[in-house]
Amino acid sequence: MERSHPAEAGHLLVVDDNKVNRLLLGRGLEQHGHSVEFAENGVRALEMLRKGRFDLVLLDIMMPELDGYQVLEQLTTEPDLRDIPVIMTSANDELDSVVRCIEMGAEDFLVKPPNPVLLKARIGASLEKKRLRDQQRQLIRRFATPEVAEELLANGFELGGKFVNATAMFSDIRGFTSIAESQSPTDTIELLNTYYTLMFDAISGQGGTVNQMVGDGLMAIFGAPVPHADHPLRAVRAALEMVELIQLFNQGQSAQGKAPIQIGIGVASGRVIAGFTGTQSRATYTCVGDTVNLAARLEAHTKVLGHPILIDENTWQGLGGEIPATEQEPTQLRGKSAAVRVFAVSLPAEVPEPQGPR
């Protein structure tokens, strides 16, 4: 990202009941290349904001119909409007009112009549912040499921980790390396894309979030960042759907004379540390902790047991008998001191067993 952007032109709304103020502000803004529309009171301003797209609002405080406070209050309750920056325009004896507006979410203020240099600087800074926020919004939309994106956009980022109860899922393709070696790179990438599309659909359909994709493997979280009390059940439903989708996919594969694929899924529930990790330029929502490790171990263990979906005791309890699962031999898993109870989720239909170790 460039260090400093020239103040870019924006589409601005000037809200003021006083025509002299509207003319003066409008003129100053147009001189800086912005396009400006005007509203003479708060009611009209909200109507225009809901209809058009504005980059910034310059808002008077004392107005008939709906005053500046009421407009600010209304703006914060409307998801589509809450991110439009607002600069209060005030008389120089109204600074106590301005403080209240900034506490209510206004971005900045200008004293009327505005000093041209200050006007330019404050508008430029606010537009730049808006541009960055819009960029962040787009990134969230691209990298998060719609549900998570809505959650994030509505409630903002919770920086810093916290403990949450969630279900972690790991899934990968059995024998993927040999599949990749037996076909063209184009086919392999196409296969991965189809696989990811199917898995994403199943996972987000149950309210889960895919937060890692590495090669043929993926990690998903249920119950965070969007809380769902029934996260174990949702995760297992998604797992069953994933296996089912792979079966359907395999029917297509065999019709084309291509090799079928098998997947293994490990699911574990419990306390995880969740939060955004990464750097300023790239961040992802992730979960770490014992529960996550256990899910990864269970996924690896599907190769040993030959069951496509293995879950831990917490997940099994979370199912409340709604989905049948059979207990397997307790297993000593890497990184675990005691043997762990392992359950294999029963599949509704006949599913070919996963092939042996890669």
Partner: protein
């Protein structure tokens, strides 16, 4: 009141940063608006609507200051303060002073607007 009720330096600054036609438009807007605000204040005194009075005084204070009518602006500000305190008892007298000062402001602004 000072001899010239309008600070011409403020107006000249405005012309310098915009142009004369725009300042003339501002002056017309102010004169029209000012007459309306004074009428609104008289009406609100009759009906006892403190908020309308306060808003009109506020508006008058703000736009007159923008055009350099600083003494006038501070008179309007005093009226706004009265209303802010919730009492309009002393307002009629102050309002008549403001109304009486308005023609001189108008004359001075028009003189400037016509390059006098």
């Amino acid at each position: 009141m000072a001899q010239s009720p309008v600070d011409h330096a403020t107006l000249q600054d405005l012309v310098a940063s915009t142009d004369m036609a725009f300042v003339q438009e501002l002056i017309e807007a102010f004169l029209e608006d000012g007459r309306e605000q004074i009428a609104a204040m008289r009406q609100s005194l009759a009906s006892g609507d403190v908020l309308v009075f306060q808003r009109a005084a506020h508006s008058l204070k703000s736009s007159s200051a923008s055009l350099g009518a600083l003494g006038f602006s501070s008179q309007a500000k005093d009226l706004e303060q009265l209303a802010k305190q919730g009492s309009l008892e002393e307002a009629p007298e102050g309002l008549e002073q403001v109304a009486a000062a308005f023609p001189a402001i108008e004359q001075s602004l028009r003189e400037f607007g016509h390059g006098a």
